[in-house]
């Protein structure tokens, strides 16, 4: 994984941990590649939009979900794969 993508991945994982603390929901599994942001109950659709906006702003990148199934792009690595970065 490229350096930028690794940063994006860590950014998402930090957000997941923040949400978990904010909502007082213990994480039942480790935050791995297949961790589901929406399936875990931590992110609803609006939270997901907020995360999308933050990533696009922070990394000056565009996110395109159109080629992936929702079950994929709502996971950590699935989301990262949808981010278009200059290195690609």
């Amino acid at each position: 994984m490229s350096h930028v993508r690794e940063e994006i991945r860590n950014f998402i994982i930090n957000k997941i941990n923040q949400k978990s603390r904010q909502l007082d929901i213990a994480l039942e599994e480790d935050i791995g590649a297949a961790f589901s942001l929406t399936g875990s109950g931590l992110f609803d659709s609006m939270d997901f939009m907020d995360l999308l906006a933050e990533i696009e702003t922070t990394f000056r990148a565009e996110v395109d979900f159109s080629d992936y199934e929702p079950e994929v792009f709502t996971t950590v690595d699935g989301f990262v794969a949808c981010v278009r970065v200059d290195e690609d």
Binding site: L23, T38, S45, M49, L52, V63, S66, Y68, E69, E71
Partner: protein, 532 residues
């Protein structure tokens, strides 16, 4: 005199098209004959074990074959259905079950765990049907109170059940909406009400057995009735949108080659932000309907471009007037000029129904002026479940309009010279979040319980868009200022869309000239960062 049941259309289609697909859930395709057979088994079991002949039976099921077969089965047994939502907190589900008066509950496999949570709280015996489950092991000591019928206990019927004749006024379904006192309001919708809706929509839309309908709404949302029963009325196929695709159903629409789409405007708004509304994305769609909240013109425009072969319509209607009662067809050339404040008109009232715009004395306002929308006609229900006071205040006679009963929507509208209606806002503190009705006072009442103070005001947030995305609560004089605790406690009572995203603790509340808490000023203070 007896009339047609809501399930009649399905039964006719099952007789005409037994081998055509009626339902797709995941990879499973269920024909009309198969669905009829499964539903008949449930109906037969309900009739055999029916303890007291109540009007409705409840169903706790989610996006499964049993969810749909259960609804059909309940209707085939002659009862109305009261859907529960496994995504609601336990306390709300218990309340809805209690208010419904149902003593029969159909449960699918996915909801078995929740059934085990419900059972210890029930004092009244239930007859519980588990059509998918043969090995139910309850954890509750109170299991003996109830009759549990596993699928192996249900003898299959010799022949599929016919649609029973029904009293037109008897309930086809019972739904609950947010209640400003903190108690959900039950709205029974009769077979006669929904027959009028289906008669109009079947005539309006050129649909037949080759169509493929989306089923996006939760079953506790009345728009799901359109999905199911308009689809089955014409012999079309109902495609259940899986939970994983609800937020972003673009690929689902394409993969399933849907021809008829129906959702709240929040869905295309989210899809737009995710860049999933690209031009010509949905070439199979012939009808795209939106309802439940204000439809921004930009979204109608983007959807039309994404679905160039589709008629795009904005529908409007409270649950009390059965699904929807006005419609407006988007015309790319003309409609942008007809929108007010960037919002698509709600259009014209359905044939054989009436709309009246009134002032606070219920007198008709001059044309073009803003007033409260009142509705009359066969789709208008008779009142709230066991709530004569609220019924009396909302179902009224209007001066100079004879004996007709009119439903006061609480929606502010303007009517133009063509009879086209334009939504302007609310007269009260009801808002919409993703199409769900929310009485802010219900949120206030819940927050009060846990904040230990009466001074609570909940407001929509963000406040600068046509439709709110969430709620924040401002609390004054709380016993302890523990935001997380208040939110977590609310989440045990309220559906997720009603739980405040934030709680702000203040020393004093701003008051307006009448001495009442000034909600608008509170919103202003949050926007300016004076409350954080």
């Amino acid at each position: 005199m007896k009339g047609k049941s809501l399930v009649s259309g399905f039964v006719n289609s099952a007789n005409r098209f037994p081998d055509r697909p009626a339902l797709e859930v995941g990879k499973q395709v269920v024909s009309y004959a198969e669905l009829h057979h499964i539903a008949s088994g449930i109906a037969y079991t309900i009739k055999r074990y029916d303890p007291s002949g109540t009007d409705v039976a409840a169903i706790l099921a989610y996006r499964s074959v049993t969810a749909y077969a259960g609804i059909l089965g309940i209707l085939l047994s002659g009862k109305g259905y009261a859907p529960l939502n496994p995504r609601f907190p336990l306390e709300r589900t218990l309340r809805m079950l209690e208010l419904s008066g149902a003593d029969i509950l159909v449960v699918d496999e996915e909801c078995i765990d929740q059934l085990n949570e419900i059972l210890p709280h029930l004092k009244k015996p239930l007859t519980i049907l588990l059509p998918e489950t043969s090995n139910f092991v309850g954890r509750s000591k109170q299991l003996d109170l109830h009759t549990i019928i596993r699928c192996t206990g249900a003898k299959p019927p010799a022949a599929p059940a016919d649609a029973p004749p029904v009293e037109p006024q008897s309930p086809a379904y019972l739904l609950f909406t947010s209640g400003s006192t903190g108690v959900p309001k039950g709205i029974p919708v009769s077979h006669g009400n929904v027959e009028a809706y289906l008669a109009y929509t079947c005539k309006r839309y050129d649909i037949d057995e080759d169509h493929r309908f989306s089923q996006h709404f939760d079953l506790t949302f009345d728009l799901s009735v359109h999905d199911m029963f308009l689809c089955w009325e014409v012999g079309a196929c109902l495609c259940c949108v899986p939970e994983s695709a609800l937020m972003a159903p673009a690929k689902f629409i394409r993969d399933r080659q849907l021809t008829a789409w129906f959702a709240v405007p929040a869905v295309p708004m989210v899809m737009g932000r995710m860049r999933l509304l690209k031009p010509a994305s949905f070439e199979t769609l012939k009808y795209s309907l939106f309802c439940g909240e204000a439809l921004p013109a930009e979204i109608a425009k983007a959807w039309q471009a994404a679905a160039p072969g589709s008629v795009v319509e904005n529908l409007y209607g409270p649950t009390e007037a059965t699904i929807a009662i006005t419609n407006y067809t988007w015309n790319p050339s003309v409609s942008p000029g007809e929108c007010i404040n960037g919002v698509v008109p709600i259009g014209w009232v359905f044939d054989d129904h009436k709309a009246c715009v009134v002032d606070h004395e219920l007198k008709t306002v001059p044309q073009g002026e803003c007033g409260e929308l009142c509705l009359s006609g066969k789709q208008v229900t008779r009142g709230y479940l066991n709530n004569p006071e609220k019924t009396k205040s909302q179902y009224v006679a209007l001066p100079g309009q004879g004996d007709s009963v009119w439903y006061r929507t609480g929606d502010l509208v303007k009517l133009d010279e063509r009879g086209c209606l334009y939504y302007q806002g609310r007269i009260d503190n009801q808002i919409k979040i993703r199409g769900f009705r929310v009485e802010l006072q219900e949120v206030d009442a819940t927050v009060r319980r846990f904040a230990g103070t009466e001074m609570v005001v909940s407001v929509p947030w963000p406040a600068n868009r046509e439709n709110a995305e969430g709620i924040v609560s401002i609390i004054c004089g709380a016993k302890t200022e523990n935001e997380k605790e208040v939110i977590n406690q609310c989440a045990k009572i309220l559906p997720s869309y009603m739980v405040p995203k934030r709680c702000y603790f203040v020393q004093r509340m701003p008051l307006n000239a009448n001495g009442k808490i000034d909600r608008l000023q509170l919103i202003d203070m949050i926007q300016r960062g004076e409350i954080s």
